[in-house]
Symmetry: C2
Amino acid sequence: MPFTLKQLRYFVATAETGSVTLAAQRVNISQPSVSAAIAELEARFGVDLFVRHHAQGLSLTPAGRELLTDAKSLLDHADDVRLGAMGLGQDLAGELHIGCFQTVAPLILPHLIGIFARQHSEISVKLHENHVQGVLDGLRAGEFEFALTYDLGLDDDIEFDTLTEVPLHCILAKDHPLARHKAVAIAELIQYPLVLLALPHSRDYFLSIIYGLGLQPRVAHETPNFEMVRGLVAHSDAFSIMHSRPLSEWSLDGKRLAFLPIKEKLRPTRLGLARLRKLRPTRRSLAFAALCHLHFQGK
Amino acid sequence: MPFTLKQLRYFVATAETGSVTLAAQRVNISQPSVSAAIAELEARFGVDLFVRHHAQGLSLTPAGRELLTDAKSLLDHADDVRLGAMGLGQDLAGELHIGCFQTVAPLILPHLIGIFARQHSEISVKLHENHVQGVLDGLRAGEFEFALTYDLGLDDDIEFDTLTEVPLHCILAKDHPLARHKAVAIAELIQYPLVLLALPHSRDYFLSIIYGLGLQPRVAHETPNFEMVRGLVAHSDAFSIMHSRPLSEWSLDGKRLAFLPIKEKLRPTRLGLARLRKLRPTRRSLAFAALCHLHFQGK
DNA sequence: TTGGAATGATAAAAAGATTTTCCTGTTCCG
DNA sequence: CGGAACAGGAAAATCTTTTTATCATTCCAA
């Protein structure tokens, strides 16, 4: 770098006061420092910036005048960057990148983001949807600051802040033989084929629950598409299990669905906010986290 | 200043290489320096800029990504300023501020500037016209780099580069009794009233020439307006003396004028380029000076 | 499973800048 | 002519930056 911002600052102060001494006072520094800074700029650029009037200040040369304009604009720019950077962690403005487990996202986030947008109109929320493992990878890759997801596959480097516990549900077609019960056991469901939501991690998690009960599922289909699962179930006697419970009881192609709680006592799955333990949270993300807590507290 | 351009450069290099070590190589510096620069930026801004993946590089946080954009733009800006400043003395581009004695300006400069503009289309010439003293003041005040003027009132701090010698002329109305001579002596003219070009310095200079010949002028009028002098002479039997010899033999209001050389041997007045001795000339001004010499050499 | 290679962080020493103090020379002004 | 104001220079002091050396962590291959 042929010059520093500091030198530019001293130069501008000198140009504007027309005196090295006054400039030094203005930037709270000794006079020779300013003198040296200017001398170095002149040497670096190979131009005289000032005409010195011995014992009565100095005035800009044409070259100095040109540099003055540029220097000021650069200093202003630097200040913008500084303000922007200071605000990165502090201000309730800018961008907030949030990761979210994809099946949860459309059920919860539109509402939360709506409220958040009204409270903090300066913050623009950017969403990153992915499966459970992808969300954790995204956190580690710094794609977003925190993520709304289940407490699945967490490692020590992830801090998990529980918002609510979600019970496991099964999905059945509305006209399924078991659909009119209040709740149903996986042991009963196991006689029907299973449609598996085949997302990384989730897939194995669902299977592990079933195996854990000593049962052997008959997997009719598996698909990573959430709506596909619902559709397949709606049109057959198959069942599926998942945590996310959409309010809509209709599949995308218009068939009715039933959602029943599972009878078996299982380790409760938690929905919450995951973040990298070693990264300090920004004020923006804390604000959103607070909103999440408020939202789930009321339930 | 909360940060330096250097720190920003290291930060950008790190962000772009995804590695402190690679960044250090790219900017030709040791790895701990880069590490320290980033740490300081993070401390100053109060935000984590990177997620460190121990032993396998780092990746940007959302905050880091935001800063990256700003940092790059600031560095680009700084580079523009640097290039601009380097060019201040070197490039044949930008602005060239020229001072000029006002009575000389319209006689010579339009032609010279025309040629110069064609040779150096990147340079825009800015003219500062003034009287002899004003031109010297302007030089000292740094308003322009050099000036086209007469060798009058020069001090030691001014370097004068002679272009040509100009003889003293007298101006008379075309129908003046003395107007049909080839040349005329001030001793003859002195019987007629004098119209004095009353510019600072010039005025006293003209008077000193006359007094120096032991003559006493009758000053009919004095005016700082060059065309006014010509007009007053054109409409009377008065005379005036000056160095600048316009090619036009007409006053602004359409009367004919005669220009005659002065017979007396006087110290020749020189037209040339004046500049502050202590200021180093830019390449731009040297180019213009060269053109001036070329122009007057041919005469 | 283990040892080596790669990587970032840290500490201490070295090198380099910046800053300050003190001083000089110039110019202006009463 | 003497004092005040000002820029610039020199040397010492102080701060920063850089480097060297080392450590801890992780990955990868044997």
